[in-house]
């Protein structure tokens, strides 16, 4: 029962920190913040609650920022030099998932990009907590003079996820009901000015709500008072996203992996594939044409033993063909689930492979992801 040593740097707090402590959350260091990994009921109960009702997550540690310039085309073209998604083609209120790429086509970070419904010449960005300082430096370094990056250190971010999320949020913000998946709008939630997107990291319908830090507590309290809502920690956030087949930066994707290898080619729209003009486009266009050398796949181990990050993947002949990058127990499936990279010859659905856990060989097969069907409101 090892305990982690206390970090040397003082941990940062989100505006909701005292509420997590008051709820009896177990707090852990995460990306420089003191964050709730679970509340009193535990990860499995929180996971199940999110799948059947509504879970409230504090994700204020994530980086929020805006690119601002003279008009949409200028700002979009500036961002398109850094990411492979079609940003120019975003319509007002539309959100897209993309990746900041290095010159080798590796992923510096993954992010959400939103063209706000009003206010031309702005793009809203949400990046990973652990990467945000490096992302900001990287983006600023590459921006043309007429486009600047504003960082919203003072804003909090709440995620409300699950089949009851719409009913809960619409009680306080009727406009939330008419948002489609991957769209966003500014709206007041019980009088609190928020920017709401219909998106998330659980595979469920739901929202991410950006709110000024000094109003975050009031919004949290308002949503927590709803009977369908329970607080959910980072532990269940991880098991939910794993079942949803979503990548965790630094684990399933990193500076070595390309979006094509990571099975994220869907996030590179046609115009960008034709035109290129993003970092590492040479490698990525080649992988799109010929297939990547390795690919991220879903893996279902037999039995109950979880196969975690770093687990070796072998073929029937006992040759090493890949490695698990995320794995654990899927509470909704009631079984272990994993994802990892395998040489492309072994990426086909149904391929029988072996996972080596503590010296034991666990039979597993390649399965399509998500492990649990997405229930987005399209």
């Amino acid at each position: 029962m090892a305990s982690s040593p206390p970090g040397s740097a003082p941990l940062r707090h989100t505006p909701l920190h005292s509420r997590h402590v008051a709820l009896g959350a177990r707090m852990v260091p995460f990306a420089g913040y003191d964050m709730p990994v679970q509340y009193a009921k535990g990860i499995i109960a929180e996971h199940q609650h999110t799948r059947k009702a509504a879970g409230l997550f504090d994700v204020s540690h994530m980086g929020q920022a805006a690119l601002a310039g003279p008009d949409h085309a200028t700002v979009a073209r500036a961002l398109e030099t850094l990411v492979p998604a079609d940003i120019l083609g975003l319509v007002p209120g539309q959100q897209r998932y993309s990746q900041l790429l290095n010159d080798q086509g590796g992923i510096i970070d993954d992010l959400m990009v939103t063209r706000p419904a009003d206010g031309d010449g702005r793009l809203l960005l949400v990046v990973n907590a652990a990467c945000k300082d490096a992302d900001i430096r990287h983006i600023r370094h590459h921006l043309p003079d007429e486009v600047r990056l504003e960082v919203f250190d003072g804003r909090a971010l709440l995620a409300l996820q699950g089949p009851e999320a719409e009913a809960v949020l619409a009680r306080h913000a009727p406009a939330a009901k008419s948002l489609a998946f991957m769209s966003a709008a500014a709206m007041t939630v019980a009088g609190i000015p928020c920017h709401v997107s219909r998106s998330g990291y659980t595979g469920e319908d739901g929202y991410e709500i950006s709110v000024p830090g000094d109003r975050a507590g009031a919004l949290w309290d308002l949503l927590m008072a709803e009977p369908e809502v329970e607080p959910i920690g980072l532990g269940a956030r991880d098991s939910l996203r794993l079942e949803a087949g979503l990548c965790l930066y630094g684990h399933d994707i990193n500076e070595e992996t390309s979006p094509v290898e990571a099975a994220l080619a869907w996030s590179i729209q046609r115009r960008r594939r034709q035109e290129g003009g993003f970092p590492g486009s040479h490698r990525i266009m080649e992988e799109l044409a010929d297939g990547p050398l390795r690919k991220r796949v879903g893996l279902l181990p037999e039995g109950r033993m979880p196969a975690r990050e770093g687990t070796e993947i072998k073929d029937a002949a006992g040759e090493l063909v890949g490695e698990v990058t995320s794995g654990g127990f899927g509470p909704t499936l009631g079984a272990p689930v994993a994802m990892g990279y395998v040489a492309s010859d072994f990426a086909r659905e149904g391929t029988a492979l072996t996972l080596v856990v503590r010296g034991k060989e666990i039979p597993a097969r390649v399965v399509p992801m998500p492990f649990v069907a997405h229930r987005y409101k399209r």
């Binding site: 029962m1 090892a2 305990s3 177990r26 990994v37 679970q38 535990g42 990860i43 499995i44 109960a45 996971h47 532990g235 991880d238 098991s239 109950r304 033993m305 979880p306 975690r308 654990g328 127990f329 509470p331 272990p336 503590r358």
Partner: protein
Amino acid sequence: MTTYYTKDHEYIRVEGDTGTVGISDYAQSQLGDVVFVELPSVGKALTKGAEAAVVESVKAASEVYAPVSGEVVAVNGAIEETPGTVNEDPLGNGWFVQIKLSDAGELDELMTEEQYEDYLKSIS
């Protein structure tokens, strides 16, 4: 019947020359939901401090160490089927293995229940 504890939060409840080993209530609460347990085979010789079993929560895998040396005489197969029992009843139905002690003198190096309570206060 006396229960002893280790600093790694295993317990051993001794009756005669046999001890029942599991993890403490503190350990199960720190681990969170247990989803998998790997037990040794009956007949395996365990050395004090060596790995006796593995317990996995949603988040991570942890070793359960043998509090004393001895031979495994029984394992609790029920917790392989319903690992959550380790959370619900760690000192009762959530036990892991029974060991036939090879050196009862090793028990002197463990903490009594009272000492363990003090130890928990000191680390919290």
